[in-house]
């Protein structure tokens, strides 16, 4: 790392004592990046943007929100009606959760397709799974705060999952609630944790980026950079490309916020929570549907009751991702050079979409069958197909270098 060359005396003075400018120069400016990244690589920066937007809007919402079962619903409506731009901040926050998950899911599937989790990026991937888990917890608790019907019954159903834990299940659930059902203490702790967890995510994102910058980005070819001819500095090439992506993304986001703000939500959450009446259908937000489907799909397995089995499947589906780098035995990263995995990957995408579709419907008739098959495939995909593919699949020949592949086929 060359010492910072700056015209400004102040910058040099500060940098000599706290090398923050050198750090930025190194990590954001000259940071060498593969020259062949596609737009699928934009979603990481978009996720970071969404985290910032959620934290910013969330802080200002927290200034107006009241975490009390008698006041929460009205305080949210006061934000929507009386607080200056409250409607805007709340709709951004509400739809922001959905868009945060959209970009994160695309980001994850991009990693799966191009083998971005493989050596030496295993920890980078694991940190990403930690972020996903924290996001899920944050989103779940955030959804409870408006104290509508779906908030209350979603919280009831999800906290009741923990009663499936053998021996101490009931004690755990009572402890989670701080009472005998979802009530004021539950709302208060969820609020406290909903405010805390995003900053935990922010910290883990820092580690995630640190791990990323250690070996640099993977790329569509999945091969390592061989030298300067394969790289370009992050700035201005990827800063401008990321910013363009941000522009496109924000335009789509704005269309939802300003014209379809409730499209992704459930009308029942505009009904005040009523502990005496369960809504006809309890459906989580769309981003939890695949997991919700798995929860409901699993039947009794031997001596494990369906309830516990469903909970295990749901949590297992995410925790399995932690060991993914070791489940995949293929030496080749990018699916471009894996003729079978290339197709199998899309089976997984379809499988997850099917799970989401099933999760949105009452578990009756065909949906139960579909849910069971899709759940089974999900685990089959990671636990059996992944290890076997690495052994039996014959990868295509890899290009010698990124620049060789990039110039090939161009005049």
């Amino acid at each position: 790392m060359a010492a910072l060359q700056s015209q400004s005396k102040i910058v040099r003075w500060i940098d000599h004592r706290l090398p923050i400018f050198t750090f930025m120069q190194h990590e954001l400016h000259e940071y060498p990046t593969p020259k062949n990244l596609t737009y699928w690589w934009n979603y990481g920066s978009l996720a970071a943007l969404m985290l910032m937007i959620m934290i910013a809007t969330g802080i200002f919402l927290a200034m107006e929100y009241t975490p009390n079962v008698n006041l929460a619903f009205d305080s949210v409506e006061r934000i929507m009606r009386d607080v200056n731009y409250g409607w805007l901040i709340r709709y951004i926050h509400m739809n922001g959760a959905s868009f945060f998950f959209i970009v994160t899911y695309i980001h994850i599937f991009r990693g799966l397709y191009y083998g971005s989790y493989k050596e030496p990026r295993e920890l980078l991937w694991i940190l990403g799974v930690v972020i996903l888990l924290c996001m899920m917890a944050t989103a779940f608790m955030g959804y409870v705060l408006p104290w509508g019907q779906m908030s209350f019954w979603g919280a009831t159903v999800i906290t009741n999952l923990f009663s499936a834990i053998p021996l101490v299940g009931n004690e755990v659930v009572t402890w989670l609630w701080g009472g005998f059902s979802v009530d004021n203490p539950t709302l208060n702790r969820f609020y406290a944790l909903h405010y805390l967890l995003p900053f935990v995510i922010l910290g883990v994102v820092g580690l995630h980026i640190m791990a990323l910058h250690t070996h640099g980005s993977n790329n569509p070819l999945g091969i390592d950079r061989k030298g300067p001819q394969d790289s370009i500095p992050f700035h201005p090439y990827y800063t401008i490309k990321d910013m363009f992506g941000v522009g496109v993304f924000l335009t789509i986001f704005a269309i939802f916020v300003f014209w379809f703000p409730n499209l992704l939500g459930d009308p029942a959450n505009y009904i005040r929570a009523n502990p005496l009446q369960t809504p006809p259908e309890i459906v989580p937000e769309w981003y939890f549907l695949p997991f919700y489907a798995m929860l409901r799909s699993v039947p009794d397995i031997l001596f494990i009751k369906a309830k516990l089995a469903g909970v295990l499947a749901m949590f297992g589906s995410i925790f399995m991702l932690f060991i993914l780098p070791w489940l995949d035995t293929s030496p080749v990263r990018s699916a471009r050079f894996r003729p079978i995995y290339k197709w199998v990957f899309w089976l997984l995408v379809i499988d997850v979409l099917v799970l989401g579709y099933v999760g949105a419907h009452r578990p009756e008739g065909l949906y139960v069958v579909m849910g069971r098959i899709a759940t089974l495939y999900y685990f089959f995909h990671f636990l059996i197909l992944f290890p076997l593919l690495g052994i039996f699949e014959r990868p295509l020949p890899l290009p010698t270098s990124i620049s060789a592949a990039v110039t090939k086929g161009k005049p």
Binding site: T38, E77, R81, W87, M243, F258, P267, Y270, L353
Partner: protein
């Protein structure tokens, strides 16, 4: 990867309408609303007439707790002047206090007061309606699948029950209500109100206007939202265009 992603997205987009149809319910007619579309605003005439219908009919059983009288005036309101709003509020009595003697007292409502509910609490409201609770209408349009069209469907969906269907005396047949049995008697009929602006008060007109009013009540900031949206999206499109040009230019020497 891109081609497959696009193909998959189209399949999903085509499959999504399949989500919609589930129960055997007659499809909701889509009314033509003044607030439809990206630039839609509330027709002030319809809002005021709808408020008349609410005040004279709905408000006998249904509260509108999240609204205040002040919401009727000002920008984004129904178009009433401050004095008119004061007069509307003053027609209602609210309980205030305690006074210096420690007693609660009645006073005329002020614009800053919330709409006075017809019953002091839900229990009293239930007791007066055979145990059924007329829901608060503040968010009714946002709280029901189908929104404005659904509420309009309910208000105009009363039919004689199909032959052979036994109905309790307290229930009415409504083609758009889930389960078709609704405790609310048909609230609207021709000339149940007489509109101040002379519009002919047919059932359809009353339903249309009161749904416009209730849609406004569910989200009084909708007009502001769409107006802001136009500006924001215009800005974002320009910004994205410039960013794209800059991106092309900067990347020119790499490609």
């Amino acid at each position: 990867m891109r081609a497959f992603a696009i193909a998959l997205f189209s399949v999903v987009a085509l499959a999504v309408p399949a989500f919609a149809q589930e129960e055997a319910m007659p499809p909701l007619d889509h009314e033509k609303w003044s607030f439809d579309g990206p630039f839609g605003t509330f027709d002030r005439g319809a809002l005021q007439r709808g408020f008349e219908v609410y005040s004279e009919v709905c408000s006998n059983c249904h509260s509108l707790k999240l609204m205040s009288y002040r919401d009727l005036g000002g920008p984004g309101g129904l178009g009433y002047s401050d004095d008119e709003v004061k007069a509307i509020a003053a027609q209602k009595e609210v309980t205030d206090g305690p006074n210096d003697q420690g007693e609660m007292f009645q006073r005329p409502a002020r614009p800053s007061d919330h709409f006075v509910p017809p019953f002091p609490n839900d229990q009293a409201n239930r007791a007066a309606h055979n145990g059924a609770l007329p829901p608060d209408l503040s968010l009714i349009v946002k709280a029901r699948e189908g929104g404005s069209d659904y509420i309009y469907g309910i208000l105009t969906g009363y039919k004689p029950p199909p032959p052979g269907l036994k109905m309790p005396d307290t229930m009415q047949y409504n083609m758009h209500f889930p389960g078709h049995q609704i405790a609310m008697p048909p609230p609207l009929s021709d000339d149940v109100v007489s509109f101040a602006d002379g519009t002919k008060a047919t059932t359809a007109q009353e339903a249309h206007d009161v749904v416009t009013f209730l849609t406004w009540a569910s989200e009084p900031r909708m007009e502001e939202r769409k107006k802001t949206g136009v500006k924001v999206v215009f800005f974002l499109l320009v910004m994205t265009g410039v960013l794209y040009a800059a991106k092309r230019k900067i990347w020119a020497d790499v490609h």
